[in-house]
Symmetry: C2
Subunit: 276 residues, 2 copies
């Protein structure tokens, strides 16, 4: 049985992304299996308990999902199979219809951050409490305990039948999240158009990012994303997540990687296509 | 009266950074004034209610403080006067000595993230609840309400006299946070060694970051930091925070900025020195 692991419980944006992935798979696609955290999803894939893991990587407003990037960079060796772009709309769900009576708002920290303006203006009195996913926030709401709301999707509203008390409360639009489908081995059968790499920039070699960008520019390879993360050593040491528009069989990509190999530490997260 | 705004209440890491800044100021340095949020600090400086604001910008483990970067990039025109590097050590403070009886942990989201391993291993049962600062988390603890703990500094422990139940619970070391002292006008009198810039990379011009890095490389200016943030439009549009080792009177910096001006949108956050 091939399980596709997603961030549960049911009703999450991650489940929506997993459903898109499931529809696109040929043959027996396996079943969807919820996991409580991003770390649990990626560990399940690493141990072979799930054949694919669906994890959020980046949001158009709030930026990277740090835990996903950090786990892919440092702790596990997994490969991206597909990117899945999902449009995100947040709503406020609660059994308490009056905003002034809401004292606590639950949600995933990224969802709370994406609704910062609404929460500050309309619910300045409310405590913000983190949950492991937006749907977990909704799952915890109880008609017998008033004054608590959740920031979550319409899909969650349908799943758990909690009333929507404010619609479309996000700060900006369009709001999109990019999910990655990752597996233990690279899949070289498919048609790939992008490749994700991690390069290290040491404090004493500040020119290494420039050298890397030059190698791609020389091969006319466009970079669609450059994201820095601390190397977790000291201030000034960074790693960079670089996405480039070149599949694994792009000859320029191979030349760029060969040119960089002696001077720069590179981790290849795999080549993949987009699912829209 | 010149107020220095910091993230309160008393006992925060931000107050420690503000005290360092205060010691270094000649003449009448004014007083320290706590503010409830980073947005409130920066707005107070923008309105002239405070002459300086001390805000966290970057941590060696958890990375950038997004709200600080987003406000400096998009909503306000403020200038960096100084960077202040602070060593960070987190402790668990609570009136409940037994870890298994702790059901809720309060702290600033960055502090919670920096202690993720400890919290997952030792307090898997605990809810994590965000507060606006680490010292605000400690301030809320009440001997009459058991089962609640805060992640905060030794300075907070001394300020509020809440017992330390676990010492040094951070995931990694060294843990350092970089604070910025910002003001409404640039201060060109002082000796400056670094300059912070924001450049935009449009989705349809993926080479613009490379062009910018090339302009600095041509002038032999080292970059100490490159941090991407979403431009808050759509996936694929980014802005980059670039710190370079060149004061405002560095001739190469002026040449690089002049060369880039026609092609790249640049916001100059000012030149400054480091306070260690």
């Amino acid at each position: 049985m091939k399980a596709i692991a997603y961030l549960g419980p049911e009703g999450s944006f991650s489940q929506q992304a997993a459903l898109k992935q499931l529809e696109a798979l040929p043959g027996d696609p396996g079943c969807l299996q919820p996991y409580p955290t991003i770390a649990a999803i990626l560990t399940a894939v690493d141990r072979g308990e799930a054949s694919l893991g669906i994890v959020p990587a980046e949001n158009s407003i709030e930026g990277s999902v740090n835990i996903t990037l950090d786990l892919l960079a440092n702790e596990l060796n997994l490969y991206i199979q597909k990117e899945i772009i999902l449009a995100i709309t947040h709503h406020l769900l609660s059994y308490t219809p009056s905003l002034v009576q809401i004292h606590t708002v639950l949600s995933h920290p990224q969802a709370l951050a994406q609704c910062r303006h609404f929460l500050q203006e309309k619910l300045p009195q409310a405590e913000l409490m983190e949950t492991s996913s937006t749907s977990e926030a909704v799952r915890r709401l109880d008609p017998a305990v008033p004054g608590i709301a959740a920031v979550a999707s319409w899909h969650s509203h349908l799943c758990y039948q909690v009333p929507v008390v404010a619609e479309n409360i996000g700060d900006f639009s369009p709001n999109q999240t990019r999910f990655l489908a990752v597996a233990k081995e690279p899949d070289l059968r498919q048609n790939t158009t992008k490749t994700s790499l991690i390069i290290s920039m040491e404090k004493d070699r500040p020119g290494s990012l420039y050298e890397a960008l030059a190698a791609f520019a020389k091969e006319n390879i466009n970079l669609t994303r450059i994201e820095s993360r601390p190397a977790k050593k000291e201030l000034g040491n960074y790693i960079f997540f670089i996405d480039c528009q070149a599949g694994y069989d792009h000859p320029g990509l191979q030349r760029a990687l060969t040119a960089l190999a002696p001077r720069t530490s590179i981790k290849n997260l795999g080549s993949y296509g987009e699912l829209t």
